[in-house]
């Protein structure tokens, strides 16, 4: 059902728009001239090999780094984000592959981390623990995760489940844009499927999604737009209906470079 989504051209302003954005670390060109659009109810996939600039791109959108050149617009407004807090306040929630959650903390504490609801006033202002527990359970259930015990350390959940909790958290806090950093990288086939379903669920709730991955198969399953990065530059841009999975895989895998590699690796006896 996830592949059935339409790729009709979206009208109106993009939720997030990068135009010719560059980022340099000293004399290292991490990213140069990258453009990207994210629309509500759509998934934009960013593909690239290690060192292609995927993490740099995500850090700019998430507010961890400022971009050095080009324009970064959120709902049409020019921005330059100074902190993740600022990005969150503008509706951009980022879920990282490794550091999505604090493993030793209970699920419910993780769910509300950084945005804890309180009750009472003055010195008696305290966490609304009952509400936090109940909301966590309800929100996870709504995303289809049925946890009996929200008190268990989140580190005891599987990698896929932790990603799902982080996604559910972003949806609950009213994120307009969800940025996912390699959500399926460390997961098996089944777990990846579960995570991709949640990604699609978030999209169906009207969020714009940026999916960073080096797996074209996962990207093609859910994506509407594809941006290929190579060595910090934009190598290609596609929409779902302008590219086939085979073509995407070929470009992603390096295209002609892969051909060369095949020749190099061929056994002498085979020639």
């Amino acid at each position: 059902m996830t592949t059935a989504s339409t790729t009709a051209p979206t009208t109106g302003t993009a939720l997030v728009e990068l135009d010719d954005v560059s980022k340099y670390y000293g004399n290292v060109r991490a990213l140069e001239g990258v453009s990207l659009e994210v629309h509500a109810g759509e998934i934009t996939c960013v593909l690239g090999d290690n060192g292609a600039g995927k993490s740099t791109l995500i850090k700019i959108v998430a507010g961890l780094h400022r971009h050095d050149a080009g324009t970064f617009r959120i709902e049409g407004e020019d921005v330059s984000l100074a902190s993740p807090r600022e990005a969150l306040d503008l509706g951009i929630a980022t879920v990282y592959q490794d550091l999505a959650v604090v493993p030793l903390m209970p699920v419910w504490r993780n769910f509300f981390l950084g945005s804890e609801p309180t009750k009472g006033a003055g010195p008696f202002k305290r966490l609304d623990v009952e509400r936090m527990r109940a909301t966590t359970r309800a929100e996870l259930l709504r995303m289809g995760i049925d946890l009996r015990d929200v008190d268990q350390p989140i580190g005891t959940l599987s990698g896929g489940e932790r990603q799902c909790v982080a996604i559910a958290r972003a949806v609950h806090f009213g994120a307009k844009v969800l940025v996912l950093d390699e959500p399926t990288a460390a997961l098996g086939v089944k777990q990846s499927g579960v995570v991709l379903k949640y990604v699609a669920a978030a999209r169906d709730q009207g969020l714009g999604v940026v999916l960073i991955t080096h797996n074209p198969h996962h990207a093609y399953l859910v994506g509407d737009r594809f941006v290929l990065l190579k060595r910090g530059l934009m190598a290609a841009v596609h929409t779902k209906d302008s590219v086939t999975l085979d073509e995407l895989t070929r470009q992603m895998a390096g295209g002609s470079e892969l051909e060369d590699l095949r020749h190099e690796l061929e056994r002498p006896s085979a020639t």
């Binding site: 059902m1 996830t2 998430a62 961890l64 902190s83 993740p84 807090r85 969150l88 980022t94 990282y96 550091l99 999505a100 959650v101 604090v102 493993p103 030793l104 903390m105 504490r109 509300f112 981390l113 950084g114 945005s115 804890e116 309180t118 202002k125 305290r126 966490l127 623990v129 259930l141 709504r142 995303m143 289809g144 995760i145 049925d146 946890l147 009996r148 015990d149 268990q152 350390p153 580190g155 005891t156 959940l157 599987s158 990698g159 489940e161 799902c164 958290r169 089944k190 499927g193 579960v194 379903k197 949640y198 699609a200 669920a201 169906d204």
Partner: protein, 350 residues
């Protein structure tokens, strides 16, 4: 996209969860190891030292525990937040020295000195925190630096001002009786003499437990210690949390320092060196993970209580006090092994 479909994929997780027994949950409490240790130490000295079980001994043991415990509480919170403070021991002395010397030199009411001391001590704590968060150097190095600097300053300034290594007595100065009442008085409850530091200690443990478990700041302490990057990414003010924790250590160092001053009238400027390790050990015995993100204030209190019992128990058993260090080392090793095992269990399915 139906919401029920993914539930099928995750059903097996629920079954696995249901098998978690209440015993295992109890084992996962951070204080458990320390409580077992405390009971063992208590039973041990009850048997080998006849005078250990007397009511008067209890007062002595609790007093010894409280002087460590007052500092073990903020040090435990800081450790949960993922950092150390090696300057905590000498900061207590600094606090007492500033208070005493300011009042004496200015011939002011001792309460003025007490206030000035609070400001100076907090400034040192905030300095530690700001330097740590700005430079991103390990707290071990930063606070080792401030530890050495304070040790030097304590001795140097005291010699410069008083001419000796100790301060002048301020016992006859204005405000001394009331300050002594607050920081160093003694109450008699049911025939047992209890020092007021025990009340401070209990109060601080209760306050720290409240902060840790029931406030936003507490949630942030666990988060910055357990995963600073993850915490920063969801908008937790990591730097402010850490600076706050160092200020907490400073505040408790101020209380300890004022106790030191008002119970002895004079302060030896070389005191406090080595105590920072005792506070850290109490916190670790109490179940704080040395790598941060896990622990409790109550655990630190149990750790301090073990210290008190061992230190005084050896005296009551009329043994050579040198054995104290051996006990301490063994306790620390056992506690750390237990902690490591717990962490492995918690993260087993990662």
């Amino acid at each position: 996209m139906s919401a029920t479909a993914p539930a099928d994929d995750l059903d097996h997780v629920d079954e696995r969860l249901l098998r978690t027994s209440s015993l295992k949950k109890l084992l996962a409490r951070p204080e458990l190891g320390s409580v077992v240790g405390a009971v063992a130490v208590f039973l041990f000295f009850s048997i080998v030292a006849d005078s250990f079980l007397r009511a008067s001994s209890l007062g002595t043991v609790l007093y010894a525990a409280s002087t460590i415990g007052i500092m073990a509480v903020p040090v435990a919170l800081l450790m949960i937040g993922g950092e150390f403070d090696l300057s905590a021991g000498v900061l207590v002395t600094t606090s007492a020295l500033v208070s005493s010397m300011f009042s004496y030199q200015m011939t002011a009411n001792v309460w003025v000195g007490v206030g000035v001391s609070l400001l100076v001590t907090l400034a040192v704590g905030v300095f530690n925190g700001v330097l740590l968060t700005r430079t991103k150097l390990p707290s071990f190095i930063i606070t080792l630096g401030t530890f050495l600097m304070l040790t030097g300053l304590n001795l140097g300034f005291t010699k410069l001002i008083s001419g000796t290594v100790s301060t002048k007595s301020i016992a006859d100065m204005e405000g001394f009786p009331s300050a002594r009442k607050l920081f160093a008085s003694q109450l008699t409850v049911g025939g047992v003499d209890l020092k007021v530091t025990i009340l401070w200690w209990i109060g601080l443990v209760a306050l720290a437990t409240w902060i840790l478990l029931r406030t936003r700041f507490g949630n942030w302490i666990f988060a910055v210690g357990g995963g600073a990057d993850a915490a920063r990414a969801v908008g937790v003010p990591v730097s402010r949390t850490k600076i706050g924790l160092y200020a907490g250590v400073a505040f408790c160092a101020w209380i300890s320092g004022q106790h030191l001053l008002f119970s002895f009238d004079v302060v030896q400027s070389g005191e406090g060196v080595g105590n920072e390790l005792i506070y850290i050990i109490a916190a670790v015995i109490g179940g704080c993970l040395i790598t941060g993100g896990y622990g409790s204030a109550i655990g630190s209190a149990v750790g301090a209580f073990i210290f008190g019992m061992t230190g005084k128990g050896i005296v009551y058993a009329e043994w050579d006090p040198d054995w104290f260090k051996f006990f301490l080392g063994a306790m620390l090793l056992l506690a750390t092994l237990l902690n490591a095992w717990i962490r492995k269990r918690v993260e087993a399915t990662k």
